[in-house]
Symmetry: C2
Subunit: 243 residues, 2 copies
Amino acid sequence: MSSLNALSTPTRNRILNALPPEEFERLSAYLEPVELMLGEVLYRPNEPITHVYFPNVGTVSIVCQLEDGKSVEAGMVGNEGMFGVCVFLGSVTSPLQAVVQLPGNALRMRADVLRAEFKRGEHLQDLLLRYTQAFIIQIAQTAACNRIHPIDGRLARWLLMCQDRAASGELQLTHEFIAVMLGTRRAGVSEAAAKLQDEGIIRYRRGHVSILNRHGMEGKSCECYPVVKKEFDRLLGGNGRVW
Amino acid sequence: MSSLNALSTPTRNRILNALPPEEFERLSAYLEPVELMLGEVLYRPNEPITHVYFPNVGTVSIVCQLEDGKSVEAGMVGNEGMFGVCVFLGSVTSPLQAVVQLPGNALRMRADVLRAEFKRGEHLQDLLLRYTQAFIIQIAQTAACNRIHPIDGRLARWLLMCQDRAASGELQLTHEFIAVMLGTRRAGVSEAAAKLQDEGIIRYRRGHVSILNRHGMEGKSCECYPVVKKEFDRLLGGNGRVW
DNA sequence: TGAGTTGTGTGCGTTGCCGTACTGTGTTCA
DNA sequence: TGAACACAGTACGGCAACGCACACAACTCA
């Protein structure tokens, strides 16, 4: 069917896609496709990181785990970015965890290869650094959001971020999982989700959320969504949507 | 009195101090000493950043401002680091604000000079990247902390971080200012501070906090303090104390 | 088909914090 | 010296979210 060869549509990852052809070609020998399985833990806190990942489809949560077993999401990564920033920032470990949130697939690369490529100081370095800046803003805004904003706005924001990265309004998610990401009770998510459903903004059933009215959801979201979105678009050359 | 010349004790900033002499010497021509005045706003959200700062003494808060005028601290910078990371990450603006929290002084450098130095890929690059990693961990932990931990632990943690960076247990701080940083009510800070004072851990009076029992304070702090501290020590070659 | 598992609805008492407000006490000026 | 101001003490009603718990519904698999 498709007459497009592998190199012309090599990946849906926007960082890799932004590379000039010769740089991408050099890298592609080291890129290995992998599946991202729902709930899979790709990085465990403080364990050596062997690979970095460039998602094509699906999303990964960067999660901070606390002593009592609670956890809170610090950031979300989809095909707009990569995870494993600590590798080129100079560390082989990180106290943060990476968990697959929406299943999909990614291209991964050995950490030492990425480090060497980064050191060359070409386009990849620029792209990774700009992504790092966007990621920092995402976390910082989350820090403020977690402190100030009520659960309803946070849930709406979180679902919008998922939709952006999933390239779809059909999300395989349980209230339980969302609760862990937002750092709240499951029951709290159920209540907030019920409100959104009553207003016709989403519809959900057993482990599945459909976003029916994106515009309505944007109205329910806290201010943090547009702040972070703008920053991503500005830094990563957004076209209005993340994908 | 002191027979030490300017170059042998050029600064108390630990990033600059970690540079090899020849690299520092090249930079020093571009380093300009500036005072950090209490409450001074060094970066305003989304306004072009012309200089980066390497604090010697004093601390600066990186603050996220929300629409309703509330604000929450995302990170704290003292002589262990620098601020203006967005400059070498590839952006001239940032939605975050930088406010002087404890007065002191810093060395500043023009943004374009720093960018060029960074691009050389020598030690400064390594140091700045490692610092960026530590800073990310700090913000991420704050995001979780803001969500989960009660105000008493957060206050203790915040005071410890101040003490580390101030190289002193005598802090010029009002409850009002602390409240803005923690993103809570002033009254909430007063209550939490009163508890610490009752236990003999701190003593305060009109705009001044003395830390009397550091060990006791560590016991009151939430887990986030040691997590972030360890990461800073690990990445920036800590000696047990930040200064 | 029926038992077990997983996901959601809902309720209830509790609590930490919010918003607000007013008082009292140091500090700083005119 | 006294007025004005900035900072801290304290109180009170209100509420969002918490922890917990139980019932029911949907899906899975023997």
